[in-house]
Amino acid sequence: MMDSLVFFIISAVVIAGAVGVVMAERIFHAVLALALALLGVAAVFVTLGAEFLAVIQVLVYAGGVVVLFLFATMLTKSDLQLKRPPRGDELAPVSAVIFAIVALFYVASSGFASLGERASVIGSVGSVGGLIFNPQAYVIPFELVGLLLLAAMVGAIFLAKKEAAK
C-alpha cells in the first residue's frame, strides 16, 4: 500500500516534468522540467532497489546531460521563445498518448510486475559489478563499450575541429 502510494506520487512528478518539457514556452524552462522528470525516474529506480542505476541516472542525466543543455541554452540565444506548432499538428501528441496508453495496457497485463522483486537482487552496485567484470558474464560487451566511447570521442573531436584557413 505504502509502496504503491510512493510510486504514484513519483510517477505524477515524472509525468508532470515530461509534460512540462513539451509545453514550456522557453527552452530554459523546458530543460529544468526535463531535469525534474529525470530525477523522478532516478527515484523510481531507488524504490525498485536498483541503487546503481539510480546513482548513474543522477550522475549522467541530471548531472551531466542537463547541465550541458543548460550551458548550450545560455551560450546561445537563451531568450528564444518556442513557437506553438501550427494547427493541424495535434496528430503527433494525440497518437503519442494513444500509443503510450496501449503500450501501458499490454505491459501492465503481462507478468512484468514480478520483475520488481528480482531487481532488488540484481540491481545493487555489487551485483552489477560482478556481472560486468566476470569473464563468464558481460566482460566482452564492457570492453567493447570502452572502444565505442573511444570511437565516439575520435568522431566528435574530428567533427568539432575547425578547418584551417586555406
Binding site: V107, F112, A137, Y138, I140, P141, L148, A151, F158
Partner: protein, 492 residues
C-alpha cells in the same frame, strides 16, 4: 577460447595503432595509416578465412563443434564467420579504394581508425548470441559510421551525416525498447535462452507482438526498408563515395545479421513466426517495388544506387517471409538470403567505388557527367558495367545466382509466396532499365573526352570486386554450399 577472437583482437589493435601513430606523423606521411589499416584487415581476413576452412572441414566430418564462448555470449559458428568474411572483404576493398579517393583529404588517421572500429563492431554483431553484446556491437558500428558520413565537412555531407545520425539514434532507441520487452518477458538476454523461455510465456502474446514491431521498425531503419528508408538516399548521396560503399555494403548487412539472429533464434516460436513472417512479406513487397520504381526517376547515380540498394534489401526480406512456409527447406531460404547479402555487398560496394574513381577526376555523380566515361576511364567504366549488370541479375554474374536462389526458394514455398517471387522478377526487369541507362551514357553518349590515367589502387579494388562478381556468377557451387552450410550452422 581467445584464439577464436584473434581476428577481432587484430582489428582492435590496428585501430588503436592508427590513432596513436597518427599523432606522430606529419600531414604528408599520413597515407601510411591507410596501408597500415590495409595490412590489419588483410591479416584478420586471412585468419577468418582459416576459421571458415576449419569449420567447413568439421561440418564435412560431422564433428561436434565447440562454438560458444563466454557462457554463450559469443557464437563463432559458420554463420558468423560468413558475415565476418563479408565485412572484412568490404572493409578491404573500401580501404584500398580510399587510399586513392581520399588522397587529398585531411584527417586520414580519424578516417581509417573509424573504418576499423566500425568493422570491429560489425564482426562482433555477427558473433553475438546475446542482446547486450549485439546492441553494443551495433552501436559501435553505427557511431563510427555517423562521423565517417560527415568526413568531408561540406554542406551536403553534413546534412547527410545529420540525417543519418538522428535516424540512427532514433532507431537504436526503438531496438532497445524491443529488446527490453523481450528481457522483461523472459528474464534473459541470451538469444538461445529466450527461445527456450518464450513458449512458457504464451499468455503475454501481445507484449511479444509489441517487441516484434519495435525490433522490425528499429532494424528496418538500419536496413532502409520502406517505409523506414527516407534517410538512405540523402545519406548515400551526401557522404563521400567510399563511405557510401561502406554503408551500403557493410553497415546495412550488419542490420541483416542482427535481424537473422534475433528472429531465427530468439523469436522462432512457431505461433510467432506466422505473425512476423506476414509483416516481413508486406515489407519485402513494398520495399522492392518502391525502391526500384523510384530509382527509375533518379538522375544522380549515387541516389539511384541508394534506391536500388533499398530494392535489393527488399529481395533479402523475402527470405524472412518464406520462413513461415512449411513447404520450403529452412536452410535453402536462409542460404539464399545469405548469398544475396554476399553478392550484393560486393557489387554495390564496387559500384560506389566506381563512382569514387570517377569523382577522383572531378567527374560529378549526375548521369550526364558519366557521358563518354567508357573512353575516358575504361577500367572504371568496364567494372561499373559488370557491377550494374550483376545488380540487374544478368546470368553469369553473381547477382543472378543469388536472385535465382531466392526465386527457387519462393517457388518451392508456393502458394501466396509465389506472389513475392513474381514481384522479384518484375522488379528485376524494371531495374534493368535504369542500370542499362547508366551503361548507355558511359558508352554511347556523345562527349568530348580524352583518356586519363586511372588511380591505381582504386582500379585494383574495382578489378578484384569485378573478378569476384564474375567468379561467383560462373562457378557458384562452392559459394552456394558455403551459404547453405552457414545457414544450417545457425541452429546446430
Amino acid at each position: 577460447m581467445l584464439e577464436a577472437l584473434m581476428p577481432e583482437l587484430v582489428i582492435a589493435v590496428f585501430a588503436l595503432a592508427v590513432i596513436f601513430i597518427d599523432m606522430t606523423l606529419r600531414e604528408d606521411d599520413k597515407e601510411f595509416l591507410g596501408y597500415l589499416s590495409l595490412v590489419g584487415v588483410g591479416i584478420a581476413l586471412a585468419m577468418v578465412f582459416s576459421q571458415a576452412k576449419s569449420l567447413l572441414a568439421a561440418i564435412a566430418a560431422k564433428q561436434a563443434l565447440q562454438v560458444s564462448f563466454f557462457s554463450g555470449l559469443i557464437r563463432v559458428d559458420l554463420f558468423a564467420v560468413f558475415f565476418k568474411l563479408v565485412f572484412l572483404l568490404v572493409a578491404l576493398l573500401v580501404i584500398l579504394g580510399s587510399l586513392d579517393a581520399t588522397r587529398k583529404d585531411k584527417y586520414k588517421g580519424e578516417y581509417y581508425s573509424l573504418i576499423l572500429f566500425a568493422t570491429l563492431g560489425m564482426m562482433f554483431a555477427a558473433m553475438a548470441a546475446d542482446l547486450v553484446l549485439l546492441f553494443v556491437a551495433v552501436e559501435l558500428a553505427s557511431i563510427s559510421t555517423f562521423a565517417l558520413a560527415a568526413f568531408r565537412k561540406n554542406r551536403t555531407g553534413t546534412e547527410a551525416a545529420m540525417k543519418y545520425f538522428v535516424i540512427g539514434a532514433f532507431s537504436s532507441g526503438l531496438i532497445v525498447f524491443g529488446m527490453s520487452l523481450l528481457y522483461g518477458l523472459t528474464g534473459s538476454t541470451n538469444l538461445y535462452a529466450i527461445a527456450e523461455a518464450l513458449p512458457k510465456t504464451a499468455e503475454f502474446h501481445w507484449v511479444l507482438i509489441l517487441a516484434v514491431v519495435f525490433l522490425i521498425a528499429g532494424f528496418g531503419y538500419k536496413v532502409a526498408a520502406v517505409p523506414f528508408h527516407m534517410w538512405a538516399p540523402d545519406t548515400y548521396q551526401g557522404a563521400p563515395s567510399p563511405v557510401s560503399a561502406f554503408l551500403a555494403a557493410a553497415s546495412k548487412k550488419m542490420a541483416f545479421v542482427a535481424l537473422l539472429r534475433i528472429f531465427l533464434i530468439a523469436l522462432s516460436m512457431p505461433a510467432l513466426v506466422k505473425e512476423w513472417a506476414l509483416l516481413f512479406a508486406i515489407l519485402a513487397a513494398i520495399t522492392m517495388t518502391l525502391g526500384n520504381v523510384v530509382a527509375l526517376a533518379q538522375t544522380n547515380i549515387k541516389r539511384m544506387l541508394a534506391y536500388s540498394s533499398i530494392g535489393q534489401a527488399g529481395y533479402v526480406l523475402i527470405v524472412f517471409a518464406l520462413l513461415a512456409s512449411t513447404q520450403v527447406d529452412l536452410n535453402l531460404s536462409i542460404g539464399a538470403g545469405l548469398l544475396h547479402i554476399l553478392t550484393h555487398a560486393i557489387m554495390k560496394g564496387g559500384a560506389f567505388l566506381a563512382v569514387a574513381a570517377a569523382s577522383y577526376y572531378m567527374i560529378g555523380s549526375n548521369l550526364e557527367d558519366f557521358a563518354g566515361l567508357g573512353r575516358r576511364l575504361p577500367v572504371t567504366a568496364l567494372t561499373m558495367t559488370i557491377f550494374l549488370l550483376s545488380l540487374a541479375g544478368i546470368p553469369f554474374f553473381a547477382g543472378f545466382v543469388s536472385k535465382f536462389m531466392i526465386l527457387t526458394a519462393s517457388i518451392a514455398a508456393g502458394g501466396a509466396y509465389l506472389i513475392l517471387g513474381i514481384l522479384l522478377i518484375i522488379n528485376s526487369v524494371v531495374s534493368l532499365y535504369y542500370y542499362a541507362r547508366v551503361i548507355r551514357y558511359m558508352y554511347f553518349a556523345e562527349a568530348e573526352v580524352k583518356r586519363e590515367r586511372e588511380p591505381l589502387l582504386l582500379s585494383v579494388a574495382l578489378v578484384v570486386a569485378a573478378l569476384l562478381v564474375i567468379y561467383i556468377g560462373v562457378f557458384p557451387d562452392s559459394f552456394v554450399s558455403l551459404s547453405l552450410n552457414a545457414a544450417s550452422s545457425l541452429f546446430s
